[in-house]
């Protein structure tokens, strides 16, 4: 069992999927409106299991990523428990995400390229924070599919770029999002809330670490950004009647959302020749 848990594939897929499924399920029983918090919570649990609990204050970007994510989860749970919505919730998310990005990026801000990277990340953070604020109906499938796609893109790109721990954590986040999606398929049971949006923010923080602290071709992640338009895709795709129809439309939204991520991973592969570190 111990050897199984040491397997990087298990750590990046089966383990976070199970942890995500279980945590979303527990939160579903305790307080349904907090179920999306299971994604970020699952990510943090797997982080501790695989990498260990980072020191506080954290000396490195990965440690900052963990503690910023933990704070985001607390904010998300607090906001969702208090029923905080709309622009105030978006503002809370924006402040947390911008502060976290700058905290992580600060040691790497030594060039114009790094500055541009941070500006792109902040712009994307603003998109994540405010774009969904105007939506009246909060369906969890589209934003969870966006998160799944972004995390997959970061994980795949990191794997190709020889940054294994970032890859593992990003894929763990994707798997945790997958667990949430399974809970909401074919019937959508949960809201997305600030907790879910925080999980999307964590994908951005992972992208920041990848882009700023590794030699990975992280610019390809721009190709994955259309995944954030999954909500619009959902409006375009006909919502079927009955269980099968709903299952099909949710699956279609997820597949369409993941396509840009596959393009980004393909671009990373093409740019590097696909050679990975031999360790």
């Amino acid at each position: 069992m111990s050897e199984l848990l040491q397997d990087p594939f298990v750590q990046s897929s089966v383990l976070p999927l199970l942890v995500g499924l279980i945590l979303v399920g527990v939160l579903h029983l305790l307080r349904r409106s907090l179920a999306a918090a299971g994604i970020a919570a699952g990510f943090l649990v797997v982080f501790v299991l695989v990498i260990g609990l980072p020191a506080l204050p954290p000396p490195s970007s990965m440690g900052k990523l963990f503690w910023a994510s933990a704070l985001g989860l607390l904010l998300g749970v607090g906001a969702d428990a208090a029923g905080l919505r709309g622009r105030i919730a978006s503002a809370v998310l924006a402040v947390w995400l911008a502060a976290s990005l700058l905290w992580i990026a600060l040691p790497a801000l030594d060039s114009v390229a790094a500055g541009v990277t941070v500006l792109v990340l902040l712009g994307t953070a603003a998109w994540v924070a405010f774009a969904r604020g105007s939506e009246k109906i909060e369906s969890p499938t589209a934003p969870a599919a966006s998160l799944l796609a972004l995390a997959l893109a970061v994980g795949g790109t990191a794997l190709i770029g020889s940054s294994a721990s970032i890859a593992q954590m990003a894929l763990a986040l994707a798997a945790s999002a997958g667990g949430f999606l399974l809970w909401n398929w074919p019937v959508e049971r949960h809201g997305w809330g600030l907790s879910g949006r925080v999980a999307t923010g964590i994908a951005l923080l992972l992208a920041a670490v990848l882009a700023l602290f590794t030699q990975t071709q992280a610019a390809v992640l721009l190709l994955a950004l259309p995944a954030l338009l999954a909500g619009r895709v959902r409006r375009v795709i006909p919502q079927g009647d009955g269980l099968i129809g709903r299952a099909a439309s949710s699956a279609a939204v997820t597949v369409v959302a993941v396509l840009p991520a596959l393009v980004a991973i393909g671009a990373a592969y093409a740019l590097t020749g696909g050679e990975a570190s031999p360790y």
Partner: protein, 194 residues
């Protein structure tokens, strides 16, 4: 490493005491990067040992022959210069999985104490800072030779050091223990009077 150099000089003073002034002033040396190597050996999943080195190493030594305990050794290693003869692996080693070179571009060693164990050998104690974590390490050091180098015509001291560090103690946990936790160090140094 500088501590090691210091120890080497101490041992040199002991060995060639007849040529050392009775109350010599502290002497400053600079590490000669062209004749210095910091090599590491790490177990690879039990199959073999991977050998790597840092191509950029610098530092200085202030050696006081009369009060060696007051001598100072400082070494700085550029973590971006890690070289295992495989570009993709080196890229990985510079990533946050290992040396996190963007965030921690330097690794430093500062000596704290030297114990003499023989005519030309000793134990060099010092603080190694890697990934923002500082831990004490001990190296076995051997003084090789000092004097004017026939090549450079400069006052030169040379020594060798060996030791082991546990990388996980510095927070470098990725892949351990499959990729070995114990890192063997092989250090060869020449330093010239500055």
């Amino acid at each position: 490493m500088k501590k090691t150099l210091f120890a080497a000089a101490l041992f040199a003073a002991t060995a060639v005491g007849s040529v050392v002034p009775a109350f010599a002033a502290p002497v400053s040396y600079k590490i000669d990067p062209a004749h210095t190597a910091v090599v590491f050996i790490v177990n690879h999943v039990g199959f073999s040992n991977v050998i790597g080195r840092f191509d950029t190493v610098g530092g200085d030594v202030t050696f006081d022959k009369d009060a060696v305990e007051k001598s100072v050794v400082n070494v700085t290693i550029d973590t971006t210069s890690v070289d295992t003869n495989h570009a993709k692996r080196d890229e990985h080693l510079r990533s946050p999985d290992f040396f996190n070179a963007k965030e921690f571009p330097k690794m430093t060693f500062k000596s704290t104490k030297i114990e003499k164990t023989g005519d030309k050998t000793g134990k060099l104690h010092g603080d190694l800072t890697m990934l923002g974590v500082t831990k004490p390490v001990v190296l076995d050091v051997t003084f090789n030779k000092d004097g004017v180098s026939p090549a450079s015509k400069m006052e030169t001291a040379g020594f060798s050091a060996r030791g082991t560090v546990k990388r996980t103690e510095f927070g470098m946990k990725y892949g351990a223990p499959a990729i070995g936790d114990d890192i063997q160090l092989l250090i060869e140094v020449e330093a010239v009077k500055s």
